[in-house]
Amino acid sequence: MPRLRDRVAASPSLTTSGAKGVPSFDEASLVAPAVAAVRGLRVSTLDGTELVHGVDLAVRPGEALGVVGESGSGKTLTCRALLGILPAGTRITGGAVLIEGQDLAHADERAWRDVRGRRLGAVFQDPASYINPAVRVGAQLEEVLRVTAGVPRRQTRERARELLDSLGLRDVDLVLRRRVGELSGGMLQRVLIAMALAADPAVLIADEATTALDVTVQAELLDLLRDLRRERGLALILVSHDLAVVSQVCERVLVFRDGAIVEGGATARVLRAPGHPYTRELLAAHAEYGLERYLRS
């Protein structure tokens, strides 16, 4: 990628990369200022029911943070607050949303537009619903490159091609000519990741982004996320109901339950010595029913 800022050199946590893609933990990243954070975040419905009860979360340059929890645990609401896209009927009732140090908890949509897409990218579970089904994906990716990343019109085609190529898509020209219905879920999610990365953001939030995909495709996308971290110094917030997915990519993990974080820390520590009964329950289910029991012996 020619015009990418060279964050790799600037980010201390990127000097390490495990041979098997296992993230290594670099304490230097802990002293670096967070690129995105929420502090004491509270989210409530308009009638005053609190759904997120004072959550702290921070991700530093080049760090991969896992966020684990079930539906209704508050993990997705927290990420949506971080993106300034809380669902209708909910609002922030306390705390700060810090993007590169700037508190946007009560910012208007215009302030958010400068940040979302440019400093923060996001991909969700259902890529098809974020793409216009009637328009070729190439045209939509070019539009994002032009509007969000400010790429001059005559360069957008070439940039779109480079971007998809860098995400490991084969037959890039063919993909660019296709529409949503003509692409597999894995290809669509790569196109969405390309759109999220078009403006070279500092943070990528992937909320259940691989959940709906076949497991072999999921593995390829997790590889891709690891690469993006390493090559671009991208900070990653990986949201998943699946502790195993998070354990493969993230060096730090937060466990959400009922609108609060019940456990957090280095992934290896949490897996080895879970402190909260809920985390222990998640691990026990894996030990009892997972494929691990056939493969350990």
Binding site: K20, S71, H241, A244
Partner: protein, 279 residues
């Protein structure tokens, strides 16, 4: 031991001009007391297989025999009677769509028995037994579907299928729509059914569980059938298939599953397997 379900050299073509073969000579068997998992990703043909067993699509060649009855030959009234007799019961991914939202779940569970003309007292006892088999109370069953969690609804759907005392239960993605805690409860319910069937000989319930999720299948199945691009590429004891897969696709599939505390096979190996599978 007579098989409860025998699929023999089944091929299915879908679409017209051109017809596309989506299943190629698929064979598999479910015996009494056995839980057979069919794992396949999108495009594997697993949904078509389920639909063919349901008689929702026609076979181009081959046979599907349920308890000695060749179902592809059934038409019209005989097909209706066979379905109503309930020898094979089906449970689908989304129980919200299969349960009537206006009806208390206990009445949904009893519906098949009412249609079959089972006397009220006996029906009530069978409903209670079916609910207990999946770990649900009568009290819970007096609610309506919207008042239950996804996992509870899925267990209700399984109880409803069990109440008619089928010999064969076919479950299509039974846990895919559920979150972790609900998923575990449904898996526990299925393991409970499997254990209850053990040792009952020819009378035991057999189950065919179809899913893209090899993790949940490995938890509940005795045998695993791996479907890839419409073909059975592996069929064996679950333990053997998972711990020493033979076909490159099965190896790719298993090495792609995220695990906790087990080193994932490295990427180079997966890339090589993918190339082998695609070739």
């Amino acid at each position: 031991m007579t098989a409860l379900l025998e699929v023999e050299d089944l091929s299915v073509d879908l679409g017209r001009a051109p017809r596309v073969r989506v299943l190629h000579d698929v064979s598999l068997r479910v015996r009494p007391g056995e839980v057979v998992g069919v794992v396949g990703e999108s495009g594997s043909g697993k949904t078509t297989l389920a639909r063919a067993i349901l008689r929702a699509v026609d076979a181009s060649t081959g046979r599907i025999v349920v308890q000695g009855r060749e179902v592809q030959a059934l038409r019209g009234r005989r097909l209706r009677d066979w379905r109503r007799a309930g020898a094979a019961q089906y449970v689908f991914q989304d129980p919200l769509r299969s349960l009537d939202p206006g009806v208390r779940v206990v009445d949904s569970v009893a519906e098949g028995l009412r249609i079959a003309g089972v006397p009220r007292d006996e029906a009530a006892a069978r409903v209670t037994a079916a609910l207990a088999a999946v770990g649900l109370s009568d009290e819970l069953a007096r609610r309506r579907p919207a008042e239950l969690s996804g996992g509870q609804r899925q267990r209700i759907a399984i109880a409803r299928a069990l109440a008619v005392e089928p010999r064969l239960l076919i479950l299509d993605e039974p846990v895919s729509a559920l979150d972790a805690a609900s998923r575990d409860r449904v898996i526990r319910a299925l393991i409970g059914l499997r254990d209850a069937a053990a040792g009952r000989g020819d009378d035991a319930l057999g189950m065919l569980v179809i899913s893209h999720d090899i993790g949940s299948l490995a938890a509940v199945s005795d045998r695993l059938v791996v479907l890839y691009r419409g073909r059975v590429v592996e069929d064996g004891l679950t333990r053997d298939v998972v711990s020493s897969p033979r076909h490159p696709y099965t190896r790719l599939l298993i090495s792609s599953v995220p695990l906790i505390g087990v080193d994932a096979p490295d990427r180079a190996e997966r890339t090589a397997l993918r190339a082998l599978v695609d070739a």
